[in-house]
Assembly symmetry: C2
């Protein structure tokens, strides 16, 4: 896997990476991780009274902005181009249409009850802000199974191209690493690094960790692969001793796929709303009621003496809203095309940022749940070294007959995938399933290629790398015009970033209101 | 952790261990693990017609026996001592009573909707037999979160006794192991084991695996511990660089607790029935209808010319059932006290086996879900080096206000715990919570000490180590008397073993019926 794939897996969508600042200031110990959720907006109740706020875009950032502003008494109008809230937080189901900017349309015709979260599909338990909103808005959650040891890893270079169980790869890796380290310690290689007592303890610990046998060799274990599960009467466990050697593991290069489960945002426990991620956006929208105007694409943002005037198109008629403040919570790809009174710095940052937008795509199919029935795979991800990958098995409606499986969630721009026709893309997606699950490619039906770069009103999955100065500009207001969206956070590609950015916009506006009144 | 704790964690309840037979016969590759479930009982439909079968004991083994036998046309009666089915597969809730053989009674008075699986509480996805029954009997399942990276590990010897996040321990361990191995390789310690190319690839791979920095040092990572999660605007991620050194990790001796998630029966994905494990037994019982006689403890098992005569007590009156076959599906602790026509071998094996029964216990409490609200812990297990451990957080009704947390699931016989009074046991249990979650011990209410060694009609949690010859005896019939239960399987302490043993009993009887008719 190349670096782009690795970054994609580990940190979906960050703009320029989490700028990790290392610190040793924190004392070693327990710090239950809390996102900013615990911090309510610091503003007097009712501070927004008689202040008009217009929010542009009804994705999670816009919804959060409007929700928090309304709670503080602001007079809020949210303009949304689509007929629905949520933006990328969209749970596509029967009757929905994937509409590309080039006019291509795909009609979703899945069986009743099935859906696919085309955008964000995971709520890590450390995303306190989003979990907090789910609690507050009473959106029922269920566990999203991000890791299962029964999923598969595949690379043509090993095992004759046949897939390997994740449990085997993960545990054989630990076993081989442990055997090598144990051997090195026993051979005296680390005598200067470890005391004699620690060397002895380490050798013993590696027998558990590996696990290694009494002569510190890795011979496989029940953790890794068994050929027979034990049963009643004489039926004993049989362990497969035919382990992956370190050379094969290096050829396989599964390291990233083995480690994704440890990325901070991908660690257990993770959640998803029952019935789709969009339930959160629906709940926000219900709370906002008539403050949301749908099918109202913004056409113009002008600064006025009082604040802003926003033009939008409604059933072919251009209308205007006057407001004290505007919060632009739409993608920069869209904002950059709108006539807007932005100063040079903001215009530049918006234009440059809009050009970086990424091309993540998902390719979901309806199918009988052969992965559950025939492979004991319940949720989780399988990875292939080439072609559409990973395969993402549904955590929704486990044990039911049919489900939606994603065969390919990656950057369309990778490995020339974007050069393929729609049909070729779907064929490649099906081929990934066939490679992991021979004979089951033909069970796949009703594919959808959701390439976010092409999706109307998005034209990109999330922002790409931008300069620090552009980030600093876009995270500060241009007069009465504020900016929100995951692209104004360090949690790009996640609803958490969007929500935090919405809260921050309301905080900044409220600070300004307070200062003006003082 | 001593060996007993380790074995307990890794393989709850096996009798003498899974006798692992290692093999290299299986070609390296994908073998979706299937338990015996896929194998239906090999017998003609209706083979059991006009054959009377009496099943003794209505735990999972007895229920499975009766269910499978009924399906084949046998005339089945199941005698159960209690007023309910399930045996240890019991989901205690408000109004239930824990009744000890010494007369001690504890009344469960938890809030409506709360329950605790006092016995088996997990369904691994590889337990095909049990999952198959859940499908067949339409028992709805939900994910049981067996591992969460937000849970805690504690040992007085490290970090001043303050608990550490599991994510930190797991990831710092991998990091330190990787750094040591990388150093050893760079120093030439493994030149004879790895080619020059593989050494170079390994050093690079360890940078991902550790993760290590560009000079192959482990400096912590977002996987392990952060002091600040990133947010909107200028808020960046801050990683805690203050990592656990290898000496501390060795002192901490968390190895078993780090690895439990890799034990074959504890690997993700795991499940639990919605509303309690007992739902499975209830579903079996519904299907069996009037074939089950409750409150009917067996008093005598006699061989007759035709087969067997079983005496049982019903409302103070002794009754008798004549049958062709009996299947004893009760614990050997109970069977050994019943007057039974067993040959010397079986009598000996039953008596000796009954004496080995283990003393696992669970100590559940009702509480506000402080672990979710204040610690981001959703399901999973926390471990302490001493005292009642692990702490088992509920996977049921996540995000609700109150829940049942188990503070101690261990062998009562360990560390002299059995010498404590009931009140002292409860105090120790509360102290474990207080140690991990300071200030929250006082939130615990309505404890129950479910020590299976004392529980009426069980007198033990599961069988302990027995000789191979006793196992061989007890897994073969004594004339018309057959034996079932997890103790007649290599999957002791699991419903899967019980169910497989029940299926096996019906298979053996059907084979005999077929042979007799031929």
């Amino acid at each position: 896997m190349g670096i782009s794939r690795r970054q994609f897996l580990a940190r979906v969508g960050q703009a320029g990476g989490y700028s990790a600042v290392f610190t040793t200031m924190q004392s070693l110990g327990l710090m239950p991780m809390k996102a900013e959720a615990a911090t309510p907006i610091a503003a007097s109740p009712g501070i927004g009274k008689r202040i008009k706020l217009v929010v542009l875009g009804g994705g999670v950032a816009g919804l959060t902005t409007a929700y928090e502003a309304k709670r503080l008494g602001y007079d809020v109008t949210l303009l949304e181009a689509r007929h629905r809230p949520g933006g990328r937080a969209w749970s596509a189901r029967n009757g929905d249409i994937v509409e590309f900017v080039d006019g291509t349309t795909q009609h979703v015709a899945w069986s009743e009850g099935l859906y696919q979260n085309m955008g964000p599909a995971r709520l890590p338990s450390i995303h306190d802000t989003m979990l907090g909103y789910c609690r507050e808005l009473k959106v029922p959650l269920e566990v999203e199974v991000n890791t299962t040891r029964s999923s598969l890893l595949q690379n043509d270079k090993v095992n004759g191209g046949k897939p390997l169980l994740q449990r085997k790869v993960v545990n054989d890796t630990r076993g081989q690493v442990s055997e090598l380290l144990s051997k090195a310690i026993a051979g005296g290689a680390l005598d200067r690094d470890l005391s004699a007592e620690d060397r002895q303890r380490m050798i013993e610990a590696l027998r558990i960790y590996g696990p290694l046998d009494s002569s510190s060799k890795y011979k496989g274990s029940e953790r890794s692969q068994i050929t027979r599960y034990p049963g009643a009467g004489p039926r004993t466990l049989i362990v497969d001793e035919n382990v992956l050697g370190i050379h094969d593991l290096l050829d396989a290069n599964f390291w990233d796929a083995e480690l994704y489960e440890e990325a901070i945002d991908w660690q257990a426990t993770m959640f998803q709303p029952i019935n789709g991620m969009q339930q959160i956006s629906f709940a926000f929208a219900r709370s906002l009621g008539s403050a949301i105007v749908y099918e109202a694409p913004v056409t113009e943002i002008a600064k006025t003496a009082k604040g802003v005037r926003v033009g939008y198109s409604r059933k072919g008629v251009t209308k205007y809203i006057e407001a004290d403040y505007a919060v632009c919570a739409m993608p920069l790809t869209i904002l950059k095309k709108i006539k807007a009174d932005l100063d040079d710095d903001h215009r530049g940052a918006v234009d440059r940022g809009g050009d970086t937008y990424q091309a993540a795509c998902k390719i979901p199919w309806e199918s009988r749940r052969f992965w559950e029935m025939d492979y004991n795979i319940y949720g989780g991800l399988s990875f292939l070294a080439k072609g559409p990958s990973p395969i993402w098995y549904p955590s929704a409606n486990l044990f039911s007959d049919r489900g939606i499986v994603v065969a390919g969630y990656m950057m369309e721009t990778e490995d020339g995938f974007d050069k393929l026709s729609l049909q070729e893309k779907l064929d490649a997606s099906r081929a990934s399933i066939e490679k992991l699950h021979p004979g089951h490619g033909k069970e796949l039906e009703k594919p959808i290629f959701c390439g976010w770069k092409h999706v109307k009103w998005n034209e990109g999955s999330w922002i790409g790398p931008i300069s620090q100065s552009d980030y600093d500009i876009i995270t500060q207001p241009d007069g009465p015009i504020y900016f929100a969206g995951d692209h104004t956070s360090h949690v790009v590609g996640w609803q958490e970033g969007a929500a935090l950015s919405g809260k921050r916009a309301v905080q900044m506006i409220s600070d300004k209101v307070k200062a003006a009144r003082a």
